[in-house]
């Protein structure tokens, strides 16, 4: 897990996520991955920073754009690829695909493809922790689109009312599918809106992994110490379209270029280069190591068997029932 304090760990996580998703594009084009696939290229600082601030037994609830969250959480890359290939060796036995990565052993609870659908679940996980006298925090990741859903508002109210240890992490990439925040929200200051429910809320530069991790730490510490739920607006941008089916006709080139200037991976690389942590040969070696990891993971995933059709009806209810 990328919970280590050094920025190099953050950078490594981001690089793994970036290169992983670039490979996903190739695999999707080759039809090895099917269905809906949503990439987080450009948003790696949120994945690395938020997950990097959590303890191993904290809970994570995520969305359908969760490859980065899952990898940062430590779900092995071969099992993520295998999931996307629909193989039984996938982290959800191939039954979920790109949008439904789960790993109960790492307290990673999806992988939810209904916008805002995971938010009350995170509140419930925190409620269980409270009732069972555990000191865990539940981190809930969702996009700016979810803020328009009723479930977001119901859930923040409930968490604040019951003072539950939830950190709501809004990955604000400025677009709800193909429609911008300004076209869908009467009030676009999301931290202001969340704050109206009486929880502490902050807006953070979501292209700066160090800042994201620091802010998440503060929120997690607050929630764990009994300070109630917190809200983080992480301002970021996806460099690619909403999904592989999206022709991306709704964004101006100039806007995309401006955000590309702030690429979170290269931005942290520059910092690490400037302070001597990661020189050119070091970067090259790291790139090669990540490429090897991806090559091996794809190989392992491709070798994974498909689930037998005879097992089609399993995992609907608990085994040995019905």
């Amino acid at each position: 897990m990328s919970g280590a304090d050094d920025p190099l760990a953050l950078f490594t996580t981001m690089l793994r996520v970036r290169r992983f998703e670039e490979r996903c594009v190739e695999l999707y084009s080759a039809a090895a991955i099917r269905g809906f696939m949503h990439l987080c290229i450009g948003e790696e600082a949120v994945a690395a920073g938020v997950i990097g601030a959590l303890a191993a037994d904290d809970a994570v609830v995520s969305t359908y754009r969760e490859h980065g969250h899952a990898l940062a959480r430590g779900i092995p890359m071969p099992s993520v690829f295998a999931e996307m290939f629909g193989r039984v060796t996938g982290c959800s036995r191939g039954r979920g695909g790109s949008m439904h990565l789960f790993d109960a052993s790492r307290r990673f609870y999806g992988g939810n493809a209904i916008v805002a659908g995971g938010i009350p679940v995170a509140v419930g996980l925190a409620l269980a922790d409270r009732l069972l006298h555990r000191s865990h925090v539940s981190a809930c990741l969702f996009g700016d689109g979810a803020v328009a859903e009723g479930e977001f508002h119901e859930s923040l109210n409930l968490a604040a009312l019951w003072h539950l240890p939830v950190v709501f992490c809004c990955e604000n990439n400025q677009y709800a599918m193909g429609t911008s925040l300004a076209r869908t929200h009467a009030e676009t200051d999301l931290a202001l809106r969340a704050g109206s429910y009486g929880l502490r809320s902050w807006s953070v530069d979501g292209m700066d992994a160090v800042a994201v991790r620091a802010a998440t730490r503060l929120a997690v510490d607050t929630a764990r110490a009994g300070g109630g739920p917190c809200f983080l607006e992480l301002r970021t941008y996806r460099f690619r379209a909403h999904s592989m089916y999206d022709a991306d006709r709704y964004r101006e080139r100039a806007e995309i270029d401006a955000w590309l200037e702030r690429d979170p991976v290269e931005r942290l690389a520059a910092v690490l280069a400037a302070d001597g942590t990661l020189d050119e040969p070091g970067r090259t070696a790291l790139e090669e190591a990540v490429t090897r990891e991806i090559d091996e993971a794809v190989g392992l995933a491709e070798a994974g068997p498909p689930e037998p059709v005879a097992d089609l009806s399993r995992y609907v209810t608990a085994e040995a029932g019905r």
């Binding site: 209904i114 938010i119 419930g124 609907v316 209810t317 085994e319």
Partner: protein, 337 residues
Amino acid sequence: MTATPVRAPDGPATTTVTFRDAFRAGLREALAGDERVFLMGEDVGRYGGCFAVSQGLLEEFGEERVRDAPLSESAFVGAGIGAAIGGTLPIVEIMTVNFALLALDQIVNNAATLRHMSGGQLGVPLVVRIPTGPGRQLAAQHSHTLEGWFAHVPGLRVVTPATLADARGMLATALLDPDPVLVFEQIGLYGTSGELATDAGPVDLDRAAVRRAGTDATVVAYGGSLAPVLAAAEQLAGRGVSAEVVDLRALRPLDTDTVVESVARTHRLVVVDNAWRSGGPMAEVVARVAEQALDELDAPVERVAAVEVPVPYPRHLEEAALPQASDVVAATLRAVG
């Protein structure tokens, strides 16, 4: 609606209770029996439950375990799902089935699917209690019989207590289930009373029950339609027709065997549904009998269902919209020719 006759289990002692009392006894036992159990919903605490089912439980078990929730069905049902995944045993109450539609996303997209989507990693041991059905002149947004919609969904268990023993015992069994269970409680029954064994406990959720043995026709009912069907069976007996009454008890999984075995004895089938005919729960029962026991039928199936209109407010129209004992009598007489 009259008090539902209950087949008294063997045993000496019974006591007269209402369905409300029976449901409350089940809740109290659940809360007392396991620290992980808690009750959450609208008006369940200070108010004592919209239908007074949870009266006194807040005082007895405290605010941590009897939690008044805001009017946010999607959030508190979703929170129940999260709490179930997190290791507790939540009982969530939704005030009425019409309001449950606000939580349909959580029930269908999360509770029912998380185990499958996660490849078997996540079970959701959640119990949701949902008052349902007509009978109190509550008009078209508080009276509907929609449990069949939920019974459509794999991953859910849908049960419908129609007797005091089931009202008392289904919750305990539901809490043992590692998957989500929806308990549909009939609004029209809460205030009715009957005899219940003092030692009544957990009941089987898997099998339908023959509530009255008969030889001439099988009449299938569940939940709110059982009482009028039993009344009809009594009237039919007076006319020399012996009706066997099958109470489904669960709409999912559906115990087809008990229905088919009964039809194999009587060779006539009448189904009764407080839900609308089109796509109603009994349509599935009829389909299964057609699949598995068509040769056993000596007459066309008779279907008695709600008139396809939103349930109206005036008493006479509400009654006209819903199956009455007289409708069941007429249908059964047609079936036996």
